[in-house]
């Protein structure tokens, strides 16, 4: 035991020394001389924090926290039992009521954040179909978001088509784009797929950036119309544009609910089962009569549709689109939502989107550190909790669990 412990601390010392060797040159070597203060300040903080964590971890292993853990376990169990007695529909109704009432008791700023969260929920759920259900890693997903946004932007500015008409059109275009991207990649091995989708995402962005005559290049497209509806004004129906944030909030809420229901139904359909079969074992799925190529293409197309819908709303909400909104970092962000929440799990993805969009708003001062932390969390999740914060439930029981 003591040998093990000392080995652990030896490893810790080695890691910290290593870390300092990596950190110091970045901060300490200046053209006018060597300097140790800044790097040592950061290093000492990291060293102390990780020493405390390591110590706590060891105490936990020895069982020193039994006096907290045991009662906590009992309370947790009791809470779980109470929660299990509440029917699902009550919980859902509660969430829905909060979501609908949200604009009434919050500020403009909160509406703005809520709209972003809902857009990302749609994107996350769309990507979840591809990555979580079908197990195809897509690193260029934001391209479909871009296709949707530009479809609406161009149709609205040049032809004056309405938002509602463009919604299905943009979804359709995104689906076509999904098939175009999906088709040549489907025969590839999984990890090649990742890099090819990444390449495709970049191609879409570069084309948007350089096709001046169509997309106005890096300057973007201005003057996109907000969604409009016909509203009863006492005498007759009048066309009115939904410009305010509350109105936009309800539109995106409706779209998000539609997406959640659609993905939920998809999850439980024959096609959803086929997706999972392909994810778990492609050869076995094929033997069971699943047309794997078609199913994968379908996964791409369906995932892309949601990206397109979200993109249409994004264009209508910002009233401006430019290629800057569709970089690889955005793809990585949507992917980290799916990973953080739990691949294949609808509540997980929602939780992931809320965490990754709303939390940084709370910690506004640390804006710069946002992606830095994302990257670290993504790698850490894979190591410590690969199934995500809210793991997906497996459909049915496996034969060995049934006993």
């Amino acid at each position: 035991m003591t040998i093990r412990v000392s080995k652990l601390w030896f490893g810790y010392a080695l890691a910290m020394a290593w870390f300092y060797v990596l950190l110091w040159p970045l901060l300490g070597i200046k053209a006018d001389g060597l300097e140790f203060g800044a790097s040592f300040a950061i290093w000492s903080k990291v060293a102390v924090a990780s020493a405390i964590l390591l110590g706590l971890y060891q105490l936990k292993k020895v069982g020193a926290f039994g006096f907290v853990e045991r009662p906590a376990k009992v309370v947790g169990k009791a809470a779980g039992a109470v929660a299990a007695r509440v029917p699902t529909w009550v919980a859902l109704a509660l969430v829905a009521a909060v979501a609908v009432a949200f604009p009434f008791f919050t500020e403009r700023y909160a509406h703005d954040v809520a709209i972003s969260v809902l857009v990302y929920i749609i994107l996350g759920l769309g990507l979840n179909v591809v990555v979580g259900l079908a197990g195809l890693l897509d690193l260029g997903y934001i391209a479909f978001f871009g296709v949707g946004a530009y479809t609406y932007a161009l149709l609205s500015v040049h032809f004056g088509l309405s938002f509602w008409l463009c919604l299905p059109i943009a979804g359709g275009f995104a689906a076509i784009a999904g098939c175009i991207i999906g088709y040549p990649t489907l025969r590839m091995r999984g990890d090649y797929l990742a890099i090819v989708t990444l390449g495709f995402g970049e191609i879409v962005r570069i084309v948007i950036n350089n096709w001046m005559s169509l997309t106005n290049g890096p300057n973007g497209i201005l003057g996109i119309k907000a969604p409009g509806i016909y509203w009863w004004n006492g005498k007759g129906f009048e066309h009115m544009l939904l410009n305010s944030l509350e109105q936009l909030y309800y539109i995106i809420l409706a779209l998000a609910v539609f997406t959640i229901v659609a993905v939920y139904r998809l999850n439980h359909s024959r096609i959803g089962r086929a997706f999972e079969a392909v994810r778990e074992d492609q050869t076995a799925a094929e033997l069971m009569g699943v047309d794997t190529l078609r199913i994968k293409l379908l996964a791409y197309a369906l995932g892309a549709v949601f990206g397109g819908l979200a993109g249409t709303f994004f264009a209508a909400r910002m009233k401006f689109v430019s290629p800057e909104s569709f970089t690889f970092i955005e793809s990585a962000m949507v992917l980290s939502m799916v990973v953080l929440g739990g691949m294949g799990s609808i509540p997980g993805v929602i939780l992931g989107a809320v965490t990754l969009i709303a939390l940084p708003e709370v910690f506004r001062g640390f804006e710069l550190y946002r992606m830095f932390v994302f990257g670290g969390v993504m790698a850490g999740m894979m190591i410590f909790r690969p199934k995500g914060l809210w793991p997906a439930k497996r459909m049915g029981a496996r034969s060995e669990e049934r006993e």
Binding site: D191, G199, N210, A379, I383
Partner: protein
Amino acid sequence: MEFFLQQLVNGITLGGVYALVALGYTMVYGIIQLINFAHGEIYAAGGYMGVILISWLFAQGFPPFVCLGAALVLAMGYCALLAMAVEKLAYQPLRQSSRLSVLLSALGMSIFLQNGLMLTQGVYDRAYPTEMVQGGFELGTVMISYMQCIIVGVTALLLVALNVLVYKTRIGKAMRATAQDKTMSALVGINSSRIISLTFAIGAGLAAAAGIMVGLYYGSVRYDMGFVPGIKAFSAAVLGGIGNITGAMLGGLLIGMIEVFAAGYISSEYKDVFAFIILIAVLYFMPTGIMGENVDDTRV
């Protein structure tokens, strides 16, 4: 013709750099079947270490070639340590997990390192002291700068050294054995985790050298400079046949040439697109690449 030859020289310079980066991808893929997304960031870190060290050494009054040489060696060592740390932290605990998990972990590390560079070095370009090596000579009608000579020379030297290491030494033999069959090589007494660590270190050293070359060639570095060259170098590795060292060198040269010629003759705005299109075309029509062995269809 003149333009063609000039582009050829530029293509060889750029292609050599891609070849150096591509080797890291191909060696790591060959040994643990992972697309090491963080490799592009290692290359960027190499570029930064280069500018940091060269500026410091130059300010101490060392002659330019000593600065260059010392910076090259130190930056390669630094990046080797960095890559080994990344491997230990983010990849080794996932040896038994699904390939999707490791891939995501690699992606996370890539974002982490890129933003780490941004936080410590700032978001703006950092200029290389290019006044150290100036001028060039004319060969017929083609202009060759001394910088290009240095880049091609160092690249060639590193490529030869790597070939000797992999094909002529005991360590190289152990690396090749581990790449072929981890279990069997462990049975004959090869410490596979040490070999994997070493592979990461060597690949990172080459990438660091490439980062410095690119910094010297273009005159500046940026925290996100590793992303696009990373994909291009991976394309080069795939084009040459992933897992194959000679293939990666060849692929790197080809991708460099294609990029330079496409930029010169077709369109410079779309030059990045060509590398991606080649990647997709190769994977679709010739998934084993130019020199690759047959790879089985395994999922992530």
